[in-house]
């Protein structure tokens, strides 16, 4: 397992969470914390492999513009990819 920091720059948002294969795309599972620089942060322990995820910014599914990859989830939505070594 590795601890991965996810950071989302959404200064105008009121609520941001991260959804992905690792939390069954559950919006309530991993809320992100609003940081002083107005970004949003959360840390998740992920096992080795490639994980699909997206940010949920005020209810809107959003790609991570700095993700290392793009794919689709099982709903056919475009989502981001993070590799964990």
């Amino acid at each position: 397992m590795r601890a991965i920091n996810f950071i989302c720059h959404a200064p105008q948002a009121t609520k941001v969470s991260i959804v992905g294969d690792f939390n069954n795309w559950n919006p309530a599972a991993n809320p992100m914390k609003h940081m002083p620089d107005r970004s949003w942060l959360t840390t998740i322990n992920l096992k080795h492999g490639h994980h699909r995820y997206a940010f949920l910014i005020d209810g809107v599914l959003s790609l991570d513009p700095h993700a290392q990859g793009i794919t689709r989830n099982d709903m056919g939505e475009r989502v981001s990819l993070v590799p964990v070594s």
Binding site: M1, R2, F6, I7, N23, N45, K47, D64, H66
Partner: protein
């Protein structure tokens, strides 16, 4: 290899300027955390990965780049449980042009042949080398296997190149783990790099002309539709191999066929690496690549539409637009690359 140090540092810079989003490994590693409830379980697959190396058409003056590449090939060959024996496709013209060079012969015998099976072939161009290599690997593969193309003509000997080499295995692994059909590797280039200019003003402009809907779908995944880095699943490769093999721009063709067939496409950033000297940085090869792209798109369009009663009128209309696009691309490339 996970998130690279370079990428992490790059992202740290973004963070410092409060313009950052992304995912970064936290250090030190947390080893005591329990598995996340509901976590995705990787789809276990018994499939093997077939590495296919395309040996550079023009042998580089120094072997450092190829030594780095075959260092990777040696590591893959040492894991027969995960990887099929790597294949190296070598053009016979390359072989004969280097026949008298002792260093080349030694490298071929003691390194290339040691860690991979060499397939010698007379090829008109790199696309035919791909066809030879992918076809040979496919005939040895099975239903769950994945085929991984590794172009040889990049500067893998540099620190950035070695980092790319260290992360290329993500491409086939994404296919196996996430049940994808094709995964395209994307390299970083500057806005004035010839690859970027060709793709922006040539490839995509022509794609939007001939296949506008499919072009939009492709661009949702990648800005490098001509990438030489990719991995492809057995069943999709079967479809690709048994359809007409166009003589140019196979990644574009493959992506179009993926969109036509509603295949699962992924894109993965592999880092920053350059063509070996003598690659496609100058104007003439850039123009040739745009012309080739136009030729293959026209061929594909005709094949898909020739059964329509009015196809020739529409074709001529698109051909006029396409010529304008190609001329514009030529002007832009001429302005930037001369």
């Amino acid at each position: 290899m996970g998130i690279s140090l370079r990428a992490a540092l790059s992202r740290a810079t973004f963070k410092a300027s409060s313009q950052f989003t992304g995912a970064v490994e936290q250090t030190p590693m947390t080893k005591t955390a329990k598995p996340v409830r509901g976590a995705k379980t990787s789809k276990a697959s018994a499939g093997k990965i077939h590495p296919i190396v395309i040996y550079p058409f023009k042998q580089p003056n120094h072997l450092s780049d190829l030594e780095s590449l075959y260092g990777l090939v040696a590591r893959l060959a040492a894991k027969p449980g995960s990887y099929a024996r790597p294949i190296t496709v070598m053009d016979r013209k390359t072989y004969y042009s280097m026949k008298g060079h002792r260093e080349f012969q030694d490298f071929r015998t003691n390194t290339v042949a040691l860690h991979s099976e060499i397939i010698d072939a007379w090829c008109v161009d790199t696309c035919q080398m791909w066809y030879v290599g992918l076809g040979a690997a496919f005939e040895r593969g099975g239903e769950n296997d994945v085929y991984w193309l590794i172009p040889g003509d990049f500067d893998y000997g540099t620190p950035a190149g070695q980092e790319v080499l260290g992360g290329l295995h993500d491409l086939p692994e994404i296919i196996l783990e996430l049940d994808q059909d094709v995964c395209v590797g994307e390299i970083a280039t500057g806005h004035n790099n010839s690859k970027h200019l060709i793709d922006t003003y040539g490839t995509f402009a022509l794609l939007y002309t001939w296949f506008p809907g499919e072009a939009q779908e492709i661009r949702q995944f990648t800005e490098r539709p001509r990438s030489e880095f990719f991995a492809v699943r057995h069943s999709f490769l079967h479809e690709v191999l048994t359809q007409r093999w166009y003589p140019y721009e196979q990644t574009v063709v493959m992506l179009l066929q993926a969109v036509f067939g509603k295949k699962r496409i992924s894109r993965f950033f592999v880092g920053s690496v350059s063509d070996l000297p003598g690659g496609s940085e100058s104007l003439a090869p850039a123009l040739q690549q745009v012309e080739r792209t136009e030729r293959v798109l026209k061929s594909m369009w005709r094949e898909r539409n020739q059964y329509r009663g009015d196809w020739i009128q529409l074709y001529r209309h698109l051909e006029t637009q396409s010529e304008q696009v190609r001329r514009t691309a030529s002007t832009i490339l001429q302005n930037h690359l001369t």
